[in-house]
Every structure is written in structure tokens, then in C-alpha cells.
């Protein structure tokens, strides 16, 4: 899609390009194009090394729309801090203007309107052009491309190829080092195969064998760190995969491996890199999550840079804690973070950072990448391209409590299974379909493409359901980031409830209504769920009804043809009066 001349003016204005340039370029649209592009690329280059950072691509090798959350609330002590910023509070915190290209990428505000103006985000062909540009400017030998993980999973093409399509995409992009989380849901054997295919390195200091009679008991499964020379400097990169992989995802995928934060061994490796390996710069490539990594910076001494991931936060400016600089580059391929480092006399003297939006309409596609994407999609085009229906309103995923796309999935499950309650997981990955647009099978996979896709239907007692909700709430709203797990609340179909986020653990949720009636602790409810194994907690599992969630959702949308999701949240927040509260405030 080409950007119209009118849009160039919008973009130019949005990017704050001066009028003189606009004046001279107005008659030559191509020139304007270059100006806008220059502004995306524009960077005050510094020092001798550049780290390019990507995270949480979730297998989106094609450009997409991705709307950021309009509700992002945590425990009162964390709300309004980096990691828990959205909308107006985000713009205020980072001193940004609304309705700009950056605001379109970073916030939900005016998303529908701005999406039509600025177009899609990400895509490997566009990322590659950007990466090539930086490599040309800095010299390829001075640049590293680091990937914080959640790369292999999240789309139909990833699922159908068991991750292989995405490893090809990483090799094409030139990923040098990565860590993982959802990667592990392909199972240990497949993970090892994919790492063989990967040209870059897969490292993790926080995964060890935990089968006490096995040879690898308490031994590292992957290399804990790697040392790379760039720009004449020795850079030590330590890997930190998702510490809670075995609780967030089914354990069977990683049976025999133990994860965890392992801050004591992390400190050991930092010290070893500095004292024994004599590196000039220590980088932690992490999938801990943004708020957890801020805590890591408080507890572990001597890390220069943390390249974070997992929580999908766009952070236009680094967060600095105890001298450790933390960056995170959003999600779904929307951004490439550029970190220029000045290393002199074996020390980091300075740095410069920019979170670069991968605006697919402005950054030209690299033809090789277009060919690669086409070839990877070709075998599945017929299935993925099926138009299932049209949505009246925008469908998106991210929000602390409720999202329209999850509401649609819950509706489809309750319709198919005739259940009282449906649980859809509070993953942070997914996709966005604009109001008035068609929903394709690829979009449905973009919301549901996991290796354990079955919807299970079973019975649960009211009290058990209440306890489940409290337990989830404590994982999302715990005041200590180290006790959080980085997901949003499970999305519930058939249920409404009130929540007091600042209340003590186990006492947050009240007024639970099931299909309009108060939850009866002693009553047995018919529950459907997917994306976990809540079914193991229930009784009388109905095997006859078990089916993959993408089939359930696709069938429902096919029958509905026109989807009309209200987007009204089923959760009433008692202690905040808006979705994007400011720090120390109950309001926006």
C-alpha cells in the first residue's frame, strides 16, 4: 500500500518535520517519502557498537495492526510506572504528543482513525530494510541483532511448520543471539531441532536439569552466556529465558528442566564475565518482563544493559536503575530498538537509544523478505486466506481484563459447548482487526495458534471458580514484581465481577455473577477452558466436546458472518476510575 500525498503531510507533521522541507518537497512526493523515512531512521549515532533489539514478535512475519491496551493496571505501588503505562498516562510519562506516528504505535488512542492513516506495523521485510540501513551506517561488523524471545509462536504459519518458518525468518533477519519462552511449547526435542536450524545462538543461564537421577541434574541445558566482539569491544551477553515457563505453560513440554529467576547464578556469571572473561560490556538478554527486570537491576550488580521482553511494553526511553539501563521493544515486530554504545578503555562511557517504529508504509519492503514470506505462506494460503466474516467494531487482544477479540472467542466457545462459563487465557499476544474489516482464518490463528489448542468442557464448583479467580488476580496484581507472572487476567465469558486491585491477596474479587445470577459457592457449573489445564481441576470432563479453539472460533464466525462485539468490559474496577491511571493516582 502506498502512502498518499495527503498522508505524507500528516506523517511529516506528526514527525515534526519542518515546513521548509515540506515546502520544497511538496511538488515531489517521492522526496517527501524520503524525508519521512529519514525521520524514522534519524539517530544521533554514538560510540563504536550498536545493539539492535527485538522481542515478542510472536511469529508475525507479515505486517499487522496491533492496538496497545486501554486498560493496564497493576498493584497500586506499580501503577503508572514503566511497564504499567498506557494511553494519556503513557504520553505524559514520555512527554509525547497525541495523534503522531509514535502515539499511534505506542497507545490505543484514536487507533481506528490513525490505523487508516498510518497503516500496518512490522513485518520482516520492513524490519530487514531498517536493519540493513543501520548496518550500512554503522558497519555490519559493529552491529548485533539480539532477540529476547517469544519469536517462534503466535501465528498459523508458525504452528503449521512447528516453528521452522520463523527460524528461517530469524536467519534472514540475521538474529545473532536469542532466549526463549513460548519457544518451549514446541517441546524439548523440537526446540533442540530448531536451535540446530538457527544460525544465531540460543543461550540461557536459568535453565538446568532437575531430574535428580539424570546426568544433567543441576547442569545447564544451554550455554549461559556468549561473548561477541563488535566495534573492537568484547561484549558479554547472558541469556535469561522466561523464569516461569513451567508454570505458565504445560509442564510436559519441559519435563526434566527447571527454570526460575536464578539471580544468584546470574550474579555469578556477571562477575565471571567481568573478572575472568574481561568483557567491556555486560548485557542481559532477558525474557523476564519489564517490571521484573527493573527488580533484577536492583538486586544484581554490574549489568550494563538489560534488553528485556515478555511484557510487550513499548518504552521510548530507557529506564535506568542503579546504573543498569533497561530497554524493551514492544511486541509483534512493531519496533526495532537501536542502542548505540560508546565503549572506551574497556568501559561503557555512554549510550544513545531509540525505539524505532517499523511503519510498514514508510519503510520499504526488502524484496528478498517479501519472497521469503510469500514462500512460507504459499502452502497455507488457501486455509489462512479464508474470509470467515466481517467485524463491525475493532477486535483487539491487549487489556488487563477484557478484550473484544477474547469476548468473541468466549462467545464462540459458550455457543459450541453450551457452557455456563468460558475461560480464555490472558495472553499478551494476538492480533487486531479494524472495524469494518474482514476476519480471516489467519487472524483467528493469530489469536489462538498454540501447540495445546483444545477447548475442554467440565464441571467446577462455585467456590473453586472463586478461588481460581483470586489466584489469577494475585499473579497479575501482586505488589512484588517477582511474584507476578506477566500475563493479563483470564478473560471470562458468562461472568461479570467487581475487583479491588489494591485489596489483599484472596480478597480482591466480589459480586461474581454467572449469567446474571450471583455465583453460588456450592453449585456445580459447566465450564469450558483452553490454553492451560484447568480441566484437570474440574470433574466429569466431556471428551465428546473437546476440540481445537481455532476450529471452534472459525466455525462461529463463519455462521455469524457479521460479528458485532460491544467491547464493553465484564469487569468493574472498584479502586480506579479509568484504565490508564497515573502514578500515585486512582485516575488518568
Amino acid at each position: 500500500m502506498d502512502v498518499s500525498r495527503r498522508d505524507f503531510f500528516h506523517i511529516a507533521a506528526a514527525l515534526g518535520i519542518g515546513l521548509p522541507t515540506l515546502g520544497t518537497a511538496a511538488s515531489t512526493p517521492k522526496r517527501l517519502d524520503q524525508v519521512a523515512l529519514q525521520d524514522i531512521y534519524g539517530f544521533k549515532a554514538k560510540g563504536n557498537v550498536t545493539l539492535l533489539h527485538i522481542c515478542d514478535m510472536h511469529a508475525h512475519i507479515k505486517p499487522l495492526y496491533w492496538r496497545e491496551p486501554s486498560t493496564l493496571i497493576s498493584a497500586p505501588n506499580l501503577t503508572g510506572t514503566p511497564g504499567f503505562l498506557c494511553g494519556e498516562s503513557f504520553l505524559k510519562h514520555y512527554a509525547m504528543k497525541g495523534k503522531t506516528l509514535d502515539a499511534y504505535f505506542d497507545t490505543f488512542m484514536n487507533f481506528d482513525t490513525l490505523a487508516h492513516k498510518f497503516g500496518k506495523m512490522g513485518g520482516i521485510a520492513h524490519m530487514k530494510t531498517l536493519i540493513n540501513h543501520v548496518k550500512k551506517e554503522r558497519g555490519a561488523d559493529n552491529v548485533l541483532l539480539l532477540d529476547s524471545g517469544d519469536t517462534w509462536q503466535g501465528t498459523g504459519v508458525a504452528l503449521k511448520t512447528q516453528g521452522e518458518a520463523i527460524v528461517k525468518a530469524q536467519n534472514y533477519l540475521g538474529v545473532d543471539v536469542m532466549v526463549g519462552h513460548w519457544e518451549f511449547t514446541y517441546g524439548k526435542q523440537r526446540v533442540k531441532e530448531l536451535i540446530e536450524m538457527l544460525k544465531g545462538k540460543f543461550i540461557s543461564q536459568n535453565i538446568v536439569g532437575d531430574d535428580s537421577f539424570a546426568d544433567d541434574y543441576e547442569e545447564l541445558i544451554f550455554e549461559p552466556y556468549t561473548i561477541m566482539e563488535r566495534g573492537g569491544a568484547k561484549i558479554g551477553i547472558i541469556g535469561q529465558s522466561f523464569p516461569f515457563t513451567s508454570t505458565a505453560n504445560p509442564k510436559e513440554f519441559t519435563q526434566g528442566w527447571s527454570f526460575g529467576l536464578r539471580l544468584d547464578t546470574l550474579q555469578t556469571y556477571v562477575d565471571k564475565l567481568r573478572k575472568e572473561e574481561k568483557v567491556d560490556c555486560v548485557v542481559l538478554l532477558s525474557h523476564d518482563g519489564f517490571s521484573v527486570d527493573q527488580e533484577v537491576a536492583r538486586q544484581v550488580k554490574g549489568i550494563d544493559f538489560i534488553l528485556s521482553g515478555h511484557t510487550h511494553d513499548p518504552s521510548p526511553r530507557p529506564t535506568v536503575i542503579n546504573g543498569t539501563v533497561i530497554i524493551i521493544a514492544g511486541s509483534h515486530g512493531k519496533y526495532v530498538g537501536r542502542l548505540d554504545i560508546d565503549i572506551q578503555n574497556h568501559k561503557v562511557k555512554g549510550y544513545e537509544y531509540k525505539l524505532i517504529p517499523v511503519a510498514a508504509n514508510l519503510i520499504p519492503a526488502d524484496p528478498e523478505g517479501v519472497d521469503l514470506v510469500n514462500s512460507l505462506y504459499a502452502p497455507h494460503e488457501k486455509e489462512f486466506g479464508e474470509i470467515l466474516g466481517v467485524t463491525k467494531n475493532i477486535l483487539y487482544k491487549r487489556d488487563t481484563f477484557h478484550s473484544p477479540f477474547d469476548e468473541l472467542i468466549n462467545d464462540s466457545i459458550m455457543d459450541a459447548m453450551d457452557s455456563d462459563i468460558s475461560f480464555t487465557p490472558g495472553y499478551r499476544w494476538g492480533t487486531t482487526v479494524l472495524g469494518g474489516e474482514q476476519i480471516t482464518m489467519d487472524d483467528v490463528y493469530g489469536m489462538t495458534a498454540i501447540t495445546y489448542p483444545n477447548v475442554y468442557t467440565f464441571e467446577m464448583g462455585g467456590l473453586q471458580i472463586r478461588n481460581v479467580l483470586e489466584d489469577i488476580a494475585d499473579n497479575v496484581f501482586n505488589a512484588n514484581p517477582l511474584y507476578q507472572q506477566g500475563g493479563d487476567m483470564s478473560r471470562l465469558g458468562g461472568v461479570t465481577y467487581d475487583i479491588k486491585i489494591g485489596a489483599p491477596s484472596g480478597k480482591r474479587i466480589t459480586n461474581i455473577m454467572v449469567k446474571g445470577k450471583p455465583l453460588d459457592d456450592r453449585k456445580v457449573y459447566k465450564v469450558s477452558s483452553w490454553g492451560g489445564n484447568l480441566q484437570n481441576a474440574g470433574a466429569n470432563l466431556n471428551d465428546q466436546l473437546t476440540r481445537p479453539v481455532y476450529d471452534v472460533a472459525a466455525n462461529y464466525i463463519r455462521r455469524q458472518k457479521k460479528v458485532d462485539i460491544s467491547g464493553n468490559s465484564n469487569v468493574h474496577i472498584l479502586d480506579y476510575d479509568c484504565g490508564c491511571p497515573r502514578k500515585g493516582s486512582k485516575s488518568c
Binding site: P425, G532, N536
Partner: protein, 157 residues
């Protein structure tokens, strides 16, 4: 006996953002059924200290995960600063799971021949709770450290 058979029944449940039902049911059971060695943390401590005070101390370091990967297998490591000489050593390290039916996990009686006062094991936790480590010093004092371990299933990203 086959190891696999032991692991059955401990299949921890993971809901993306939900509870560990196996753990919850274990906790429910614990309320109904008295374990053979049921003992509270107060009684267990008194039995060891004879009523002497137990002081939280930075000399005792307790390492446990913040969030248990599996409530049935929670790694715990304790180390205590001590010269471990014949005159000055750590006589014992005691581990307690403060909310289990029987809070006692292990009583480890060390000697100077250990060289270092350290102990590691893996314990079962029936619910989110504090793990407590108490070091009995050769001079008759008791030092301790504790950490909260969350037993859950968790959210995801």
C-alpha cells in the same frame, strides 16, 4: 520401584493464569485429614530451641524460588556463615514449611568436618507460605532466615 509411578499424582496443573488444583485439593485434604506427624511451627520450634529466642540474621541465607514451578518439588538451599571450626560451628540446620500439616522438613546435624554449613533439598509445599530455615549455632544461639514461596499456576505472556 519405578520412579515414574512416584511422579503420578503430582502432575501439576497449569492454567494460563489460574490455580494449581492438585495443590488446592491437597490443601483441602490437609484440613480434613490429620497427618501422622501433624505439628505447628510454634511446637516444632520449641522442641528445638527449648524456648530460646530465634533471631532473623543475614548470616543465614535461604534460597528458594519466589514462585514454585511445582508445589510438589520446591528446591531449597540454606547456607550459614561460620568458620566450621571445632570451637565455632553450626550444629544444625532445620527447615520448616510453615503452613504444611507437619511443618518439619529436615533436621540436619552438621559437624566441623562439613567445612561449610550448607544444606540443600527439595520440599513439598501445600500452599503459598513462608519457608523458614533455623541455624543452631555451637554457642547455643538460634539464627534464622525465611522466604515466601508462591504456589500457583500462573499467568502468561
Amino acid at each position: 520401584m519405578e520412579r515414574r509411578s512416584f511422579l503420578k499424582g503430582f502432575g501439576a496443573v497449569s492454567v494460563c493464569a489460574a490455580l494449581v488444583p492438585s495443590i488446592v485439593s491437597a490443601a483441602d485434604e490437609a484440613k480434613k485429614v490429620s497427618g501422622p506427624n501433624e505439628m505447628s511451627v510454634e511446637s516444632a520450634l520449641a522442641a528445638i530451641t527449648g524456648g530460646k529466642p530465634v533471631t532473623l540474621s543475614s548470616k543465614v541465607s535461604l534460597s528458594a524460588p519466589e514462585i514454585a514451578e511445582n508445589g510438589a518439588v520446591v528446591p531449597v538451599k540454606v547456607s550459614v556463615e561460620s568458620p566450621m571450626s571445632a570451637k565455632d560451628y553450626v550444629k544444625a540446620i532445620h527447615i520448616f514449611a510453615t503452613k504444611n500439616n507437619n511443618v518439619r522438613c529436615a533436621n540436619v546435624y552438621l559437624t566441623p568436618a562439613n567445612g561449610e554449613a550448607s544444606f540443600g533439598t527439595r520440599i513439598k509445599l501445600g500452599a503459598t507460605q513462608d519457608v523458614l530455615a533455623v541455624a543452631e549455632m555451637s554457642n547455643g544461639t538460634f539464627l534464622s532466615a525465611k522466604q515466601n514461596v508462591k504456589v500457583t499456576i500462573g499467568g502468561c505472556g
